[in-house]
């Protein structure tokens, strides 16, 4: 006959075995296992640069028939034969650029825009290139940030960290910093989590801020 003590012991053991068993029984799966068979050929996907669409035209408040703003090509005013600096014009023509609001250090228009070919940019050394390659200009002065950018430590990105599995999309400098007033604006943060241990309601309905030992009543 099974004694009472053995019976109780066996029951307890059976009850707690699944909890105490931990990881010692059964065939443990071997780790690590590749989730997807790794491609030995090491195919490399591209890092794609996403940049704002620029028509290379100055947009105005007038609308086209498809409701897009009327754009005026640079050469319309700054073309051959016109004054390259356009300095002698005043009145309505000058208002075309009034909303640019240049607050970029002590830079002026001609430091970046080529005045001889106004649909292009130029480096301080005088090399001209299209608007789409504006990043070359930024690096002239902001070399350390460009270095950090090249190594993923500055500027937003999406996609894959592992370029053998898929592409990555990077922001261009001017995706976030307007070249004319590059300071990143202040933002309102999105609401944070409601932490039940931080703001406690008392019975009288007032809220106690527990962050500083409950001393500050809100």
């Amino acid at each position: 006959m099974i004694s009472y003590r053995i019976f109780c012991g066996a029951t307890l053991l059976l009850l707690f075995l699944p909890l105490a068993g931990g990881c010692n029984q059964g065939a443990e799966r071997t780790e690590p296992q590749p989730w997807i068979a790794l491609d030995e050929s090491d195919q490399q996907f591209e890092v794609e640069l996403t940049r704002p669409n620029s028509s290379g035209k100055l947009t105005t408040s007038a609308l086209e028939t498809d409701n897009t703003p009327v754009g005026i090509a640079c050469a319309t005013c700054h073309g051959e034969g016109s004054n390259p600096a356009f300095a002698n014009h005043d009145g309505a023509e000058r208002n075309f650029h009034a909303n640019i609001g240049l607050t970029h250090g002590t830079l002026s228009c001609g430091d970046c825009h080529s005045l001889s070919s106004p649909d292009k940019l130029h480096t301080s050394a005088g090399e001209t290139f299209p608007l789409a390659q504006s990043q070359r200009l930024c690096s002239q002065c902001h070399g350390l940030i460009r270095k950090a950018y090249d190594h993923g430590a500055h500027g937003g990105m999406r996609g894959h960290w592992d370029l053998t599995r898929g592409p990555q999309q990077r922001n261009d400098c001017i995706s976030c910093h307007s070249p004319h007033s590059p300071a990143y604006p202040k933002v309102m943060p999105v609401p944070g989590p409601k932490d039940r241990n931080v703001f406690k309601k008392t019975h009288s309905g007032s809220v106690i801020d527990m962050r500083f030992g409950g001393e500050n009543h809100e």
Partner: protein, 300 residues
């Protein structure tokens, strides 16, 4: 025919009382087991499940998501990859405290909508201080303030994790690529790990998460963002359901300033390695010896 003695009556009364007391004491168990299927109850620890078992478990969890939340989910068991050790770094010079990372975590990881829970807490820190205990996570004004910098804190995926040491049932452990995970079906909800974590990185599910069907992220993994049951611990997993298939974590993709750097510590050409080799990085509460895999740095 036996006569009822006083002793016999006392014995019967005692037995009845005892049985009643036992029934009363056991009643919460019956209630507790109400929403727990037998398969749930008998399920083995994650590390003891064979591939065949895991298939059944994933199928069961998929069916449960359908019946409880009305959503068809793609439930997988994303495993660590060979030759990958994850590391994360954060550039405090460019973080502007916008909390977009916390919001992305909330959405990606199917957090409870009522509490707006997130694995990330963004601390507003006074310039000149590095003590995270004096950071304010509850600021609600325009950022960045001129006298402050902003430090997002999430699981540091420590190589010497105190949370793992204190778990009485081994429901949390560190996997081979460095991610500390929780088997939600093994966790008993004692919250020892929450108390042990010096970074306040673990969260407890006080109630069944409320997530509208239309907002549920259907790409789920067993050890990460599947909808957690009530009464268990949860934590940041570096979005293992994304990162183990080569994608960037959700908090990094959401960061508008590019403060976050993620990658494979074993790849000498990776961004994370460049940061570790070229920036003066530091870890939080280094003196505790937890050996975090999450690094912070300032530019220049």
């Amino acid at each position: 025919m036996s006569k009822i003695t006083r002793r016999g009556a006392m014995q019967i009364a005692g037995a009845t009382l005892g049985a009643a007391a036992f029934a009363k004491a056991a009643a919460p168990l019956a209630k507790f087991a109400g929403n727990l299927s037998m398969d749930d109850f008998l399920q083995q620890h994650y590390r003891e499940l064979s591939d065949e078992d895991m298939k059944k478990v994933l199928a069961r969890l998929t069916a449960e998501s359908k019946s409880e939340y009305g959503v068809d989910v793609n439930m997988v068991d994303a495993r660590p990859q060979k030759g990958v050790q994850f590391g994360y770094a954060l550039n405090l010079s460019v973080c502007n405290g916008c909390r977009k990372c916390a919001e992305a975590c909330h959405i990606e990881n199917n957090h409870d909508r009522d509490t707006n829970n997130s694995y990330i807490r963004v601390l507003e820190m006074k310039k000149g201080s590095l003590d995270m205990e004096h950071g304010n996570a509850h600021y609600q004004h325009e950022t960045p303030q001129d006298d402050s910098y902003y430090m997002p804190v999430q699981c540091q995926q420590c190589d010497n994790p105190p949370c793992v040491d204190v778990c009485p049932v081994k429901a949390t452990w560190k996997q081979s690529d460095g991610i500390v995970v929780v088997d939600y079906n093994w966790c008993i909800g004692c919250r020892y790990c929450e108390a042990a974590c010096p970074y306040h990185a673990r969260r407890f599910n006080w109630k069944k998460p409320n997530v509208p069907a239309s907002e549920i992220n259907p790409n789920q993994s067993y050890l990460s963002n599947r909808i957690r049951p009530k009464g268990v611990m949860e934590k940041c997993t570096f979005c293992l359901h994304r990162t183990r298939v080569g994608k960037l974590p959700a908090c990094l993709e959401a960061c508008p300033t590019g403060a976050r750097v993620f990658g494979n510590l074993l790849d000498p050409k990776s961004d994370i390695r460049w940061v570790l080799e070229n920036k003066r990085v530091f870890v939080l509460k280094e003196e505790l010896g937890t050996k975090p895999r999450f690094f912070y740095f300032f530019d220049a």
